[in-house]
Amino acid sequence: MEIGLSHYLVLSTILFAIGLIGVMRRKNLLLLFFATEILLNSVNVAFAAISHYHGDLTGQMFAFFVIAIAASEVAVGLGLLIVWYKRTGKIDLDMMTTMRG
């Protein structure tokens, strides 16, 4: 069986669902970052696959952008996380309710 576009898209969808569930369920800030990474990379897989399928490089270029932005996001996020941990000693999401409306 040859591996075609649909396989990649199914993989991407599964990854996206895992990431989404992670975003919803995780209470640990570090693991929340992991879940976000999974989400972004599921999209990257879809971009690359569709780009290859159409023979158009735009999708792959976009994937690179996503990777670059994800990296900077993680850099900033982890920095904030460390500051937070130093202050409170916890990275539990349920404790972070200072922005209550």
Partner: protein, 635 residues
């Protein structure tokens, strides 16, 4: 000449604004003097314009464009021709006298400055009304005088009755103004212009039925302003205002605006003599109807107000029968002697501490000689005794009715002339002759200021000579614009019988009034009679209006308020507000500050958007499919 036109028109406005500056201050004498001076300037300019017009010229200026869209072109244009200059003279003479008089009359009033501001604003509006060269400008003036009339009737706004009367006058006029507005729309719709000259040129080519409607609607407007039946009740109630206002607005100028309109629109009414006959018949009816109410009334100012109403009826008879110049002539003569009568009544009121019941006066001629002489002159003129102004103008109207073979109108008017003489001299006899009954009521009458009397004198002189001196000149001037028509009874014998007969009839009425009322005996039997009660209660018309228009309207308003306004309009507005308030209250728990919960909501939103995108795409497909199978659905 244009400069004089602008001075005549805008001097009162400047005066009004100047007095308005002092509006909230206590009495400042300059706030009365400056408008009076400016009005005098307006009078002088009008006189110069009059000599210009007498020389056979007219002035027509266009100040600026007011509206210009598509085919619609309405300028602020003003015209001084034979008709408008007559009105300008009447307005400026009477208002100058009234302004000076008011300085004395309003001497102790708190609203002195405000009063002059309103009064001058009125004169400005009236000048716009009579000088405009198109129907739109006339309508501005028309509404302006209505507004000033409202302000001045309700001048003493702390009195419940005054505000009520002001509102009544305003609302009644509004009903009529709607008719007038429809008339103006019809004119524009059918002729494509509102300029007098273009309209009158075009109106001859229209269908008769259209012209009839135009004539009727314009006359409805005139009926409101000139207080013709059935819109007459406001005029008597308008006497709540200060007396100079009654003299200027509700006797000499504003109420004659309706007559002016009919005279101005004479090319329209010439085409439709049937409408003219209706106008004349209504006029004759009002003349008699109002005079009969004046017979028994016990309020000095109301008696004079009914008399005004009656004389307006006369004017409409003349205008309706096509004798426009006669109508305008009576308008002029009437303005002089009626304003004089009102100002005299104002003096009496001042002397008697605002008492209005003539049965409580009597014998005032000794204390108030000047006022007595002037009011008598005015009443003689009103009664139409030779050689005063009323004789020439009113007898002329009788002759018109006779020559035009409207014998019923003639009889009605003749009887009314007798009634006029009777009620005028009933008033004079009650106020100035007989016993000094005021002593019983503890009044201490005193004559008005000297300068007030001196400034009333010009009106008295005009009331005496206006008919005799001006009739020929006036006729020559005004018939250059209005249809000429010498209304002479053909046989000299009939003429003399008619004239002398009328004089004797009127004279007898005067003598009878004196005999009956000199001693102010009140005949209980007559007073309890049906006719007396009918007349005293103004034919029960105010009660009728109250019962059949005001009360149902109030009930209807209550129903609308309780069932529609509160339950539909208010409820809708409240519902919108409440919806937002409640959703806010319910959903603010989402923002509990927990990042995890927020993320879940974010996912929920994402899912919602995805689902709706799919649903709408599907719905669009289905619709496109429907269009192909059901033609005519549109796409």
């Amino acid at each position: 000449m244009e400069t004089y036109l602008y001075i005549a028109l805008f001097a009162p406005l400047v005066g009004s604004l100047f007095a308005g500056l002092f509006g909230a201050r206590p009495k400042t004498i300059i706030a009365g003097l400056v408008p009076t001076g400016l009005l005098f300037a307006s009078l002088v300019s009008s006189t110069i314009l009059l000599t210009h017009v007498l020389a056979g010229n007219t002035v027509h200026v266009e100040l600026m464009t007011w509206m210009e869209t598509g085919d619609l072109y309405i300028p602020f244009g003003f015209v001084v021709d034979q008709v408008s200059v007559t009105m300008m003279m009447v307005v400026t003479i009477v208002s100058t006298v009234v302004h000076v008089y008011s300085i004395g009359y309003m001497d102790h009033d708190k609203g002195f400055n405000r009063f002059f501001s309103y009064l001058s604003a009125f004169v400005f509006s009236m000048m716009v009304l009579v000088m405009s060269d198109n129907f739109a400008g006339l309508f501005i003036g028309w509404e302006g005088v209505g507004l000033c009339s409202w302000l001045l009737i309700g001048f003493w706004y702390h009195k419940e009755s005054a505000t009520w009367a002001a509102n009544e006058a305003f609302i009644m006029n509004r009903i009529a103004d709607l008719g007038m507005l429809i008339g103006i729309f019809l004119i524009y719709w059918n002729t494509g212009s509102l300029q007098y000259d273009q309209v009158f040129a075009a109106v001859a080519g229209l269908e008769i039925s259209t012209v009839v409607w135009i004539g009727i609607f314009l006359f409805i407007g005139a009926m409101g302003k000139s207080a013709q039946f059935p819109l007459h009740t406001w005029l008597a109630d308008a006497m709540e205002g200060p007396t100079p206002v009654s003299a200027l607005i509700h006797a000499a100028t504003m109420v004659t605006a309706g007559v002016y309109l009919v005279v101005r629109a004479n090319p329209i009414y010439d085409i439709i003599p049937e409408v003219g006959t209706v106008i004349a018949s209504l006029g004759a009816f009002v003349a008699m109807f109002a005079a009969s109410m004046a017979l028994v009334n016990r309020d000095m100012k109301r008696i004079i107000a009914y008399s005004t109403l009656s004389q307006l009826g006369y004017m409409f008879v003349a205008a309706g029968l096509g004798a426009y110049w006669v109508a305008l002539f009576h308008l002029m003569a009437h303005a002089f002697f009626k304003a004089l009568l009102f100002l005299g009544a104002g003096n009496v009121m001042h002397a008697m501490s605002d008492e209005l019941d003539p049965f409580k006066m009597g014998g005032l001629s000794k204390k108030m000689k000047g006022t007595f002489i002037m009011m008598t002159v005015a009443s003689v003129a009103l009664a139409g005794i030779y050689p005063l102004a009323g004789f020439f103008s009113k007898d002329m109207i009788l002759e018109v009715a006779f020559v035009e073979h409207h014998y019923i109108l003639y009889t009605v008017l003749l009887l009314t002339a007798g009634l006029t003489a009777f009620y005028s001299f009933r008033l004079i006899a009650l106020i100035f002759h007989g016993e000094e009954r005021y002593k019983l009521f503890g009044f201490d009458p005193h004559e008005a200021y000297k300068y007030m009397l001196w400034f009333m004198a010009p009106l008295a002189v005009l009331a005496v000579i206006a008919g005799m001196m001006f009739k020929g000149t006036y006729y020559d001037m005004v018939t250059q614009l209005l249809p000429a028509g010498e209304y002479h009874v053909h046989s000299a014998f009939t003429y003399w019988v008619m004239t002398i007969g009328t004089q004797i009839f009127v004279g007898l009425a005067i003598v009878y009034a004196y005999r009956k009322y000199e001693n102010a005996k009140i005949d209980k039997k007559v007073e309890s009679g049906f006719f007396y009660q009918l007349l005293f209660n103004q034919y029960y018309i105010p009660q009728f209006y109250e019962e059949f228009f005001v009360k149902p309207y109030r009930d209807l308003s209550m129903i609308f308020w309780k069932h529609i306004d509160l339950k539909v309009v208010d409820a809708t507005v409240d519902m919108i507000g409440n919806t937002f308030y409640k959703t806010g209250k319910e959903t603010h728990v989402m923002q509990n500050g927990n990042l995890s919960t927020m993320l879940r909501w974010m996912v929920a939103g994402l899912v919602f958007l995805l689902v709706s995108a799919i649903v709408f795409a599907k719905a669009n497909d289905i619709f496109a499919y429907m269009v192909t199978i059901v033609p005519g659905l549109g796409a």
